[in-house]
């Protein structure tokens, strides 16, 4: 019999290694659960749908006080220096509860690690402690009207000027730009000719009080407002706000995107709706075989997907770079939740879904039906993700190409 230690490759399932919590991790989970029981008792609030959560600065600051915001930030920059598994624990418990984590979501998930990895020491000093205090919130500045999945097609330009750069162009579908403080803007710094992945760069840009920068709201299809268009006209960005190297934007942004893909946010958008519907339907009495069949399918898949995602966190802590694995989790997780919305809707079609329905479960289901199509789009469409993952597949399986 062989025993794998935490440092060893267990190797029973290709690319993914089953793992369990240590005592310290278990304790963190209990602490998060207690926090949530106190802050958000069941029935006291309307759960949010996963990462597109309500933007609640006060809640973010309470989490920050516990060391649960900017979790990856090292202690020398005022952060809690927690592991990827610790962050997995906090995030999955928050998403499970549908907690209002929208304010710090992007800063915690990707901006902080990106600034830590590519930023200067001055940038780290300026941004990381504030992120970890829950006081500095970030948006993403990647997508443009003509650059969705195809990020290399960005047309926003940054041109050299005295002491810095002038940014011109339009970013779009920028969530929470009206409330967040900064965003990291992907720009073209040299013309798109030859290798189109060359000549891209990233800039740290303040969203409010920056001359030439205008934020225009875009209504989301469910009637909510979090999307924006950010128009930049001769926006001056000083040299000290260049993030990383000029011309290295493509590899930086891909590294940033990798943080986006494998987390529990890719399979826990509908969970709180499922739980609430289950609560309401069980209260009505015995359910039919078809309902149990659907519960079984949903529950089994949540359980297995969660183990995949958890395993990736552990691999990251051990220094791995699980790219194919991350794509797998995003594809499986987001597709599953869309399928699940249809399953739940089929089961309980006695009441037409409505955002004004009498029951919370029905209102949440209505929101899931409306927003569900976004699951397989945000963070790069699943179609493109599969195309990228396919390139590494033969090596991943260890078979000849």
């Amino acid at each position: 019999m062989a025993v794998a230690q935490s440092s060893a490759r267990i190797g029973a399932s290709k690319g993914f290694t089953y793992t369990t919590f240590t005592a310290a991790e278990e304790a963190l989970k209990q602490e998060v659960r207690e926090f949530l029981r106190a802050e958000l008792p069941t029935g006291s609030y309307r759960p949010c749908l996963g990462m597109s959560a309500d933007h609640d600065g006060e809640f973010t600051k309470k989490m920050a006080a516990r060391g649960w915001v900017g979790m990856s930030v090292p202690t020398r920059y005022g952060g809690p220096a927690r592991s990827a598994v610790d962050r997995f624990i906090v995030v999955e418990e928050m998403l499970k509860a549908g907690a209002p984590i929208g304010a710090h979501w992007v800063a915690d998930r990707q901006s902080a690690p990106t600034i830590m990895r590519f930023g200067t020491d001055e940038q780290r000093e300026k941004f990381l402690p504030a992120i970890a205090r829950g006081e500095m919130w970030f948006s993403i500045g990647m997508s443009e009207p003509d650059a969705g999945s195809d990020l290399a097609a960005v047309r926003t330009t940054a041109t050299r000027t005295d002491g810095g750069w002038l940014l011109n162009g339009t970013k779009i579908w920028t969530s929470n730009a009206m409330q967040n403080h900064w965003f990291i803007v992907l720009c073209r710094t040299s013309p798109n000719e030859g290798d189109r992945h060359e000549g891209l760069s990233q800039f740290l840009v303040e969203l409010h009080g920056t001359p030439g920068l205008q934020i225009n709201p875009i209504a989301f299809l469910d009637g909510t407002y979090h999307f924006n268009e950010v128009v930049m006209t001769d926006v001056f960005v000083p040299d000290e706000q260049v993030l990383g190297e000029i011309g290295r934007g493509w590899s930086q942004v891909n590294s940033e995107l990798a943080y986006e893909r494998a987390g529990p946010d890719r399979f826990l958008s509908v969970y709180s709706t499922f739980e609430q519907l289950l609560r309401e339907k069980l209260a009505e009495g015995e359910l039919d075989a078809r309902s149990y069949d659907a519960f079984g399918r949903i529950t089994a898949r949540y359980w297995a997907l969660r183990n995949l995602s958890f395993s990736i966190s552990r691999t990251i802590d051990q220094g791995g770079a699980p790219a194919v694995e991350a794509s797998i989790v995003k594809d499986l997780g987001t597709s599953f939740e869309q399928e699940m919305i249809a399953l739940l809707h089929d089961l309980w079609d006695d009441e037409e879904p409505s955002q004004e329905a009498a029951t919370l479960g029905n209102r949440l289901l209505a929101a899931c039906i409306l927003t569900g199509p976004s699951f397989t789009i945000r963070g790069g469409t699943n179609e493109i993700l599969r195309t990228v993952a396919n390139k590494g597949l033969a090596a991943w399986h260890g078979v000849s190409r």
Binding site: M1, A2, V3, A4, Q5, S6, I10, G11, A12, S13, K14, G15, F16, T17, Y18, T19, T20, F21, T22, A23, K96, Y271, F274, E275, L278, R279, L282, L287, A289, S291, Y292, D293, A294, F295, G296, R297, T299, A300, R301, Y302, W303, A304, R306, N307, L308, I328, D331, L332, E383, R386, T387, N390, L393, A394, W396, H397, G398, V399, S400, R401
Partner: protein
């Protein structure tokens, strides 16, 4: 260290893996013995001595059965590893039936393990078995390799019984599953019992079904892993329209997705094997068999689509794997049976306990 996992409150966690030496030995043995032609021939003959003899020589079929009752010892993790490999190489023999199922029942009944293979009565709803004195009467369906087993073991009431297939009053009708593996109908007419014993606590029809579901899921996991490899490799070799078919986005989507679903089964298997080592694992086993069925079905559908017409022939190896997944997903509880079983478990614990169930598994029910 005994047990197959350890969470002792230390800052490290440990998860046992199958014995690498055993896995390597079997990998080599199966690569040498389980050729396309041999598996094909075994389907006609219902048996393959050229695999069984060397396999039995390694003791692998009895891994996971206590040495005290004549087994090979080793942990459950090792035994599951053996079955995953047996699935991967489409071993056309009762490996699960001889060890984790039959060996388990024999050990529980105090029956000395014979040298030959064993089988068990899976327990179909149509089965009718009754004891009369020291004889057995009735019908058992879908008994794997019944004619080849040294003993057919069954749970009848609260007893474990064993009958020799060649005994008087035993009639075996050849029935095969979709993969051509013997799943026979056995009629007993006052057949003499070779052994009987009261089943100890924890050994009953439901426990046998759970073990069977674990075994078939392990075999499906192994088969699907190999299907994914074969299909990715094939799509990198086959050209149409002047290019390798893996360059078509629609094909790439199948390749990524079937690899993902195969991986999901593997993860579910590892998580379940770990949970069994920690105690009750009814939730994990129900989840595992549901996933093995649902994801396994997806894997074979996509693999066939990528392979095109060649995959629909017996000339190519895919059918050995895909027909086994088609068969194994039905055995020891079909996919929908387990989904419903799991759904009732979920309904039973209620909404507030659902997340602990998903994130902690059966352990969350024991507090």
């Amino acid at each position: 260290m005994s047990g197959q996992g350890n969470f002792d409150g230390a800052d490290e966690y440990t998860v046992e893996v199958a014995d690498p030496l055993l896995m390597e030995t079997l990998h080599r043995l199966f690569t040498q013995t389980c050729s396309h032609e041999v598996i094909q021939a075994a389907e006609t003959a219902g048996w393959a001595d050229t695999i069984w003899e060397p396999l039995a020589g390694t003791g692998a079929p009895w891994v996971g059965v206590d040495e005290a009752v004549g087994g090979s010892g080793g942990s459950l993790v090792d035994a599951v590893g053996v079955l995953k490999l047996a699935g991967r190489y489409t071993v056309p023999l009762p490996v699960a039936e001889t060890g984790l199922l039959g060996g388990w029942l024999a050990g529980a009944a105090g029956l000395a393990l014979p040298e030959g293979p064993l089988t068990v009565v899976p327990g179909r709803p149509q089965d009718r078995l009754t004891l009369d004195g020291d004889t057995l009467s009735g019908v058992a369906q879908r008994v794997p390799w019944a004619a080849k087993a040294t003993y057919i073991l069954a749970i009848v009431g609260d007893e474990i019984i064993a009958v020799q297939p060649g005994a008087d009053g035993v009639d075996i009708e050849t029935v095969r599953n979709l993969a051509g593996e013997p799943r026979e109908t056995v009629r007993f007419e006052r057949a003499p019992l070779a052994h009987r014993a009261t089943a100890p606590a924890g050994v009953d029809a439901a426990a046998l079904r759970r073990r069977g579901a674990l075994c078939r899921s392990a075999q499906i996991a192994g088969a699907c892993e190999r299907i994914a490899e074969l299909t990715v490799e094939y799509a990198g070799q086959r050209s149409q329209f002047g290019q390798k078919i893996n360059r078509f986005q629609a094909v790439a989507a199948h390749l990524v997705r079937l690899s993902s679903e195969a991986t999901l089964i593997g993860m579910a298997l590892d998580a379940t094997t770990y949970a069994i080592g920690q105690g009750d694992a009814a939730f994990e086993i129900a989840s595992l068999k549901s996933i093995a069925g649902d994801s396994g079905s997806d894997v074979i559908a996509r693999a066939h689509q990528v392979h095109g017409a060649i995959g629909m022939t017996r000339e190519f190896v895919l059918h050995h794997l895909s027909r086994r997944v088609m068969s194994w997903r039905e055995e020891f509880g079909s996919t929908s049976w387990w989904r419903e079983e799991l759904g009732r478990m979920v309904g039973g614990v209620g909404a507030d306990a659902l997340w602990p169930l998903i994130s902690e598994g059966s352990a969350s029910l024991q507090r």
